[in-house]
């Protein structure tokens, strides 16, 4: 197994490198680098100084090299608006986004898989049909509109939950988290549920489809022929089989959850990376955009890598094939 892990890591590093080239080309060659990196309010003298300092008068290769070495040292430019390191700002906001995304994913998994399993076991019963109809609603509902409606109902009309913001944070292993307090939960629950809705519906449908297919397989009949209890047939034989692709998809969808958090954070004024991005786009704070891009790309690559490794760890057929090859 270690051999294939190393191979995957090398592949991931390659993709990251390619991405860095693309981002670089996007910023330096296609876009007007002067506009993107230098504060538009700077006067002529400052612009010339900045151009020289940033090496924008040098050849493209040299610029890329400077960019790359800067990136490897964690320097992705300074924000126009906040005048601090762009990368630093993004990393500061990351825990909030991750907290939101992880809670959302957790909600989706805890409710989605059991509901999907039930719908798959009894597809023609009332419960099964209701679950499926509900799931169609779940992924048809536009996330941002649901967020607005949630605020409308729970914050304005009922006054139960706060309409925006993140709760008080405490440090957990040096990372600020808000889910350890009740007040934190009151702020977390709406945005997390909003974010979870789409994935919840997706998981229900996926689990249902997987269950229906698994039940048609011979090994289920054989398991019954052995006289195993229904609980064991479903809980061990069926579940172990459908969990493998589902876990993979959960992992892959996690990246999508982080991206969708952009919208949720905007609606609920949740102080994460996503909100920072939108604010930066509106304020034309381009270094932040570049930094966000690279950080997110790196995150996705890492997620994909973890999912790959996880999949081979779970599916014995793949694990043993990889070990041989």
């Amino acid at each position: 197994m270690p051999v294939f892990v190393v191979r995957r890591i090398l592949q991931a590093a390659l993709v990251l490198l390619v991405m860095s080239v693309l981002v670089f080309v996007g910023v330096y060659a296609i876009g007007n680098p002067v506009d993107i990196l230098i504060n538009p309010l700077a006067d002529q003298l400052e612009r010339e100084q900045a151009i020289a300092r940033l090496g924008l008068d040098k050849s493209l290769w040299m610029q890329y090299w400077a960019f790359l070495s800067g990136a490897l040292h964690g320097d992705l430019g300074r924000s126009f608006v906040h005048s601090t390191s762009a990368l630093g700002l993004i990393l500061e906001r990351m825990p909030a986004t991750l907290e939101l995304a992880l809670t959302a994913m957790l909600i989706a998994v805890i409710f989605g898989i059991p509901l999907g399993l039930w719908a798959g076991l009894r597809p023609h019963g009332i419960a099964g049909r209701t679950i499926m109809a509900g799931s169609i609603l779940g992924f048809s509902l536009p996330t941002f509109w649901v967020g607005l409606m949630l605020i409308m109902v729970f914050a304005v009309m009922l006054g139960w939950l706060p309409a925006s913001g993140r709760g008080p944070t405490t440090l957990l292993f040096g990372i600020p988290v808000s889910f350890l307090s009740l007040e934190g939960w009151r702020h977390l629950i709406m945005p997390a549920t909003n974010l979870a809705l789409f994935k919840l519906a997706l998981l229900i449908r996926l689990t249902r489809a997987g269950t229906r297919e698994a039940l048609l397989q011979d090994y289920v009949k054989f398991a019954r022929a052995k006289g195993l209890s229904n609980a064991r047939v479903i809980g061990v034989h069926v579940l172990r089989n459908i969990l493998i692709p589902i876990v993979t998809i959960i992992g892959l969808e996690f990246g999508s959850v982080i991206a969708f958090a952009i919208v949720t954070e905007t609606i609920f004024a949740w102080p994460g990376m996503g909100k920072l991005l939108i604010d930066s786009i509106n304020l034309l704070d381009r270094p932040i955009i570049v930094a966000y891009l690279l950080v997110t790309v790196a995150m996705f690559i890492v997620i994909n890598l973890i999912v790959d490794i996880l999949y081979s760890a779970l599916d014995p057929r793949v694990r043993l094939a990889e070990a041989k090859g």
Binding site: D218, A225, K226, G227, L228, V236, R240, N241, R317
Partner: protein, 328 residues
């Protein structure tokens, strides 16, 4: 004559599909004595597998048993509630399926799949169950069983997988084993081995065996008695010797003639003309009528099962074949 272990009477299993009702098993009756080997022969679609499932209580929707009785050692299996039937399955009744590739769960280890079969019926310790599993594996001829137990199904060849399935079937010393074409998906060389093993093991255990197959040549050396099925019905029943040497039903004759070994050298292989009827569109009267060289107008009536000859044979035909002595 000792009391039969299994008595199937008038079994009917129908499938209620959107396109219509498929009478997969349509009034099937036979008996299996203790330690006896019964061959259930028929083409694909004849309903032989479904008969096996019906006995085991494994018929999936949209099918269900709509009539008849399955009496096993004095217990009416068809009338049992599901939970009680579960205690019989894998314990006193076992089944082996056709495709060894898909019968074992690909993501679970072999020992898990064997131990659970024991623990589902007996309250023994896990290590005791493991010991029995190891023994069972070596009995079916799998080398280094302790190691093999920790492996996964895809690490075994087709023949080995089927041996594992056989081992699992025999774990709880069942009184009856239903083997549904267990060698069809295997290489010819392996087929013979598996056949021999099964014969030996069932005789050692004293278990009865229902061997479902489309291949009459397999039955010849294996079974004590044979049932020939066509379109969901049993058209002929008797001892193996009787069926092979003096078949009564034209279909049986056709099956015998189409076995390559039986044909005289240099002559064209005989085949039964036509094809098996589509299950939703059975011909009226005798279902074999369109393909039968002895069919007459009378065959537009449905033939009933009648005794044939003296020794408990039965036949469902208006124009049974004359015994061989009369032909020459």
């Amino acid at each position: 004559m000792s009391e039969a272990l299994l008595t199937v009477s008038g079994l009917r299993t129908h499938f209620f599909t959107r396109a219509g009702v498929v009478k997969a098993v349509d009034d099937v009756s036979f008996e299996v004595g203790r330690g006896e080997v019964l061959g259930l022969v028929g083409e694909s679609g004849s309903g032989k597998s479904i008969t096996g499932y019906s006995i085991m209580g494994l018929v999936d929707p949209p099918g269900r048993i709509v009539g008849g009785n399955v009496l096993f050692d004095g217990v009416h299996l068809t009338a049992l509630p599901a939970e009680e039937m579960r205690h019989f399955r894998g314990n006193r009744l076992a089944m082996i399926f056709q495709d060894p590739m898909m019968t074992l769960n690909p993501v679970l280890r072999i020992d898990t799949q064997m131990v659970e079969a024991i623990l589902a019926h007996e309250n023994v310790s896990r290590s005791a169950a493991l010991e029995r599993a190891k023994e069972a594996l070596s009995r079916v001829g799998i080398p280094s069983p302790a190691e093999r137990l920790r492996g996964y199904p895809h690490q075994f060849s087709g023949g080995m997988r089927q041996r594992v399935a056989i081992a699992i079937a025999m774990l709880n010393k069942p009184d009856l084993i239903i083997a549904d074409e267990p060698t069809t998906a295997l290489d010819v060389t392996i087929q013979g081995q598996i056949l021999y093993e099964m014969q030996k093991l069932t005789r050692e255990m004293g278990a009865a065996l229902i061997w479902i197959t489309h291949d009459l040549s397999v039955i010849a050396g294996l079974a004590d008695r044979v049932c020939v099925m066509y379109a969901g019905r049993i058209v002929e029943q008797g001892t193996t010797a009787e069926i092979i040497c003096a078949p009564g039903h034209p279909y049986t004759r056709g099956l015998l003639d189409s076995v390559p070994g039986n044909a005289p050298a240099r002559e064209k292989l005989k085949q039964i003309p036509g094809m098996a009827p589509p299950p939703l569109d059975l011909p009226s009267g005798c279902p074999f009528r369109p393909r039968c060289f002895r069919a007459t107008v009378e065959c537009e009536q449905t033939p009933e099962t009648r005794p044939f000859g003296t020794s408990g044979r039965t036949l469902r035909c208006f124009h049974p074949l004359p015994p061989p002595e009369e032909e020459s």
